[in-house]
């Protein structure tokens, strides 16, 4: 008999669409998009692929390619200290009190470390979505919809970002069947780093995808501005002082005028007498200097001088130096007033250019980010220990480390194991679903063997990692460098 991880050497094409799987003597003919009799092999775009193997992550050595043409998996590169079994593909056990599918031990510096690996089914779960844009997406509490079904709502905005709260038990199981299914599907796609278009009541249509710039009403948001025009003045006023007599930061939201602004006054800058269009909010801060658009600072203007309403001859003087710049720094021009007090464009001096470049540098790429949030404090704990509250306490005391697909999590204080994880730090396609509907999340609990015994863990089910891998099909991926290795001494 041979090792269970043997891969088929080849898949013989029969026609363009159907391939013959020779993974076993059944020799299934598999049409594109279908799987064979075993449900382990499938025809994906004419290629034979293996479905849903357990994902193990390896650090140090490069990941072993899985199903590489003609090279059966030998399984011999696995060693405990550098291999971490994730919950992805681990499946779960039922009833809950059965030990989790994998309870594996590895030795690190002479200490036995145990990782309990499982997949949890979550009805109480949601996604917190942060969308880096200052555009109006919709009023707070407005319904966020997919296919007309409400899957969440707009929640409290953060600085430079709009926030959505999606999913949750009420939409998953509290509404109609369709609402539940649509919510589950949208959550699954977002959690698996795929794009979803949402429509917000009395607001915008937004394409959201973790790690990708948002698309608001068909327009892609490339970068976050450093702040509004007023904030930009506040940040850079001192750096401009002595090099410019007036700075106007053009912005769709609030345009800032340095010498009128508190920041300029504080530096004892004389009033330059340049009045911009729009409605003055407080000194040096102007709303609506132009219409929104694709020009300077999110306005529709292409000639910055067009926002100047008038220049007061009693205050302005010939030779006055004026910088006009957008809140992203992408647009900037340098003017000097002539004897008639008319701004004349000139080449920008070095010290001014340095600060403009600094505005550009401070504009981060606009992204959508998705945090999964769910409560792991329920019955899945019984697969870890006979006394579930001890697992909760051990997690709270930082004795047990929780990871999701190897990614670090933030455990919310207070009762239960309510955790948050950045889906971008998890391997691709980490999430699954069950038709309940509910999401399936890989989860791993790692602690020392002593700590595991102390919490009433299923110690008799602990197996060495190499043995666990011998008995299951798996695929190996490289460890993500940004995540801390969960197994610690």
């Amino acid at each position: 008999m041979r090792d269970p991880e043997d891969a088929p050497e080849s898949a013989e094409p029969i026609t363009g669409e159907v391939i013959r799987c020779d993974a076993c003597p059944v020799l299934c003919r598999i049409r594109q998009g279908q799987s064979g009799a075993c449900d382990r092999y499938a025809n994906e775009d004419g290629k034979l692929v293996r479905l849903d193997p357990l994902l193990v992550l390896q650090r140090g050595s490069p990941a072993v390619p899985f199903l590489e043409a003609g090279k059966p998996w030998a399984g011999n590169l696995i060693s405990g200290a550098d291999t971490f079994i994730t919950g992805i593909g681990a499946t779960t056990t039922y009833p809950d009190y059965k030990p989790a599918p994998f309870i594996v031990s590895s030795k690190l510096g002479g200490v036995d470390v145990v990782t309990v690996v499982t997949e949890g089914i979550f009805s109480y779960c949601g996604l917190k979505v942060k969308i880096d844009t200052d555009r109006f997406l919709g009023p707070e509490l407005a319904a966020v919809r997919v296919d007309g079904e409400q899957i969440g709502h707009v929640t409290t905005a953060e600085y430079g970002s709009q926030m959505l709260s999606l999913g949750g038990v009420r939409h998953l199981t509290g509404g109609s069947k369709k609402e539940g299914n649509v919510t589950c599907d949208a959550m699954l796609r977002l959690a698996n780093k795929q794009a979803v278009e949402v429509k917000i009541d009395d607001g915008a249509s937004v394409v959201v995808q973790a790690g990708v710039a948002p698309v608001v009403n068909g327009e892609r948001e490339e970068r976050m501005r450093v702040g509004c025009g007023s904030a930009t003045i506040g940040i850079f006023a001192k750096q401009w002082h002595g090099h410019a007599d007036e700075v106007i930061v053009v912005d769709d939201h609030i345009t800032g005028v340095l010498t009128e602004h508190q920041a300029g006054r504080f530096l004892d800058m004389p009033a330059a007498g340049i009045r911009v269009r729009g409605r003055r909010s407080t000194p040096g801060r102007y709303f609506k200097v132009a219409d929104p658009g694709l020009g300077w600072g999110g306005t529709d203007i292409t000639d910055p001088l067009s926002i100047i309403e008038k220049i007061d001859p009693r205050k302005a003087w010939p030779g006055m130096r004026l910088l006009m710049v957008s809140t992203t720094g992408e647009d900037a021009e340098w003017f000097v007033l002539d004897e008639n007090l008319v701004p004349v464009k000139q080449s920008m001096p070095g010290p001014i250019r340095t600060v403009v470049d600094r505005i550009v540098e401070n504009c981060e790429p606009a992204l959508c980010t998705v945090l999964f949030m769910g409560g792991a404090g329920g019955s899945l704990r019984a697969g870890v220990t006979e006394n579930p509250v001890r697992l909760t306490r051990s997690v709270k005391d930082l004795i047990t480390r929780v990871t999701c697909g190897g990614a670090p999590v933030y455990v919310w204080p207070g009762g239960g194991i309510t955790l948050m994880v950045d889906v971008l730090r998890m391997p691709d396609r980490s999430f699954g679903y069950v038709p309940t509907p509910a999401l399936v999340l890989p989860i791993e609990f790692t602690m020392t063997l002593d700590a595991y015994a102390e919490m009433g863990g299923h110690v008799d089910r602990v197996v060495p990692i190499a043995q666990a891998l011998r008995h299951s099909r798996f695929k190996a991926e490289a460890w993500r460098g940004e995540n801390a290795w969960p197994v610690q001494e």
Binding site: M1, P8, A23, R31, Q34, A37, K177, T436, A438, R470
Partner: protein, 285 residues
């Protein structure tokens, strides 16, 4: 091509896998006897799939007179288990999982003395029992979200030696809409064939049910162009009751004929039990 694979699972269970066959075997008895039993079962296993596939053409054809003559022992078990049902559409493949379980149980037991043993072939289970060593089995309605819906205790005095479950969500295709039909019979092959047909009979016409030709779902399907269930949305209670009634009627006929010992049917939260006495089943839902 990969051959048969063998591994030990926690709890001293033997795991054998070859292609689509996935067996979990557990035996109770003297450690030496258990070890020998596992060894002879493993040896027997290597030949199971190659011999089976050599007669696939015969086994994938619908049953009808005359009685097909097969050479392989598993193939013979399949045909024998399906033969009583030939009045409706059935191919011997309906009993393949149960027949493999029966054959492997026989290989496990040959010459050995074991108190109790089972061969679980993906939910189709062949049993060996002795006095004082009953078996407790749990039944889940939905394989995607297993909830223990019922359990059953089988002791040596009972004629039951096989348990099989079928439903549209399971690995095999179904013509019906049952979440799960679990059948107790005298062999795993008999239970497998009957569970397949009872699950096919749990059916009703309703727009919430989506069906596709079997070959559009699995190119090699022995069900050909017959429509198999691929999705069932929420059904009204009346439709559920109607589907379960037609399944129960099929099960009752099999019970009367002595082909099965009991059946448990479940669909969207409603359940039915068909048995001579109901005391064998304990519903925990």
């Amino acid at each position: 091509m990969s051959g048969a694979a063998r591994a030990m699972l926690p709890g001293n269970r033997l795991h054998l896998q070859h292609g689509p066959i996935d067996l979990v075997i557990e035996a109770w008895g003297q450690p030496q006897e258990v070890a020998l039993a596992y060894e002879q079962a493993s040896q027997r296993f290597e030949d199971i799939l190659p011999t089976l596939v050599s007669e696939f053409a015969l086994l994938r054809a619908p049953l009808g007179d005359p009685y097909p003559l097969a050479r392989g022992p598993v193939a013979r078990r399949m045909i024998s288990a399906c033969w009583p049902h030939r009045a409706v559409f059935i191919t011997p493949m309906a009993a393949v999982a149960g027949a493999v379980a029966d054959e492997m149980l026989a290989a496990l037991l040959a010459g050995r003395s074991l108190a109790k043993a089972y061969v679980n072939d993906g939910g189709d289970i062949a049993l060996h029992l002795s006095d004082g060593h009953p078996l407790q089995a749990g039944i889940a309605n939905d394989p995607q979200r297993p909830q223990l819906a019922a359990d059953v205790r089988i002791d040596a005095a009972s004629p039951v030696r096989g348990i099989a479950t079928s439903g549209w969500r399971g690995r095999s295709q179904s013509l019906g809409i049952a979440d799960a039909v679990t059948v107790l019979a005298r062999s795993a092959a008999a239970a497998d064939a009957a569970a397949t047909l009872v699950a096919n009979a749990v059916d009703v016409e309703h727009p919430s049910i989506r069906r596709l030709p079997a070959r559009d779902v699995k190119h090699d399907s022995d069900l050909g162009e017959r429509l198999v269930t691929v999705a069932v949305e929420e059904l009204p209670a009346q439709a559920i009751a109607s589907a379960l009634s037609s399944g129960s009627a099929a099960a009752a006929t099999m019970l009367d004929a002595g082909w099965i010992e009991a059946a448990y049917l479940s669909l969207q939260g409603q359940t039915r039990v068909v048995a001579r006495t109901t005391h064998e089943w304990r519903l925990s839902a």
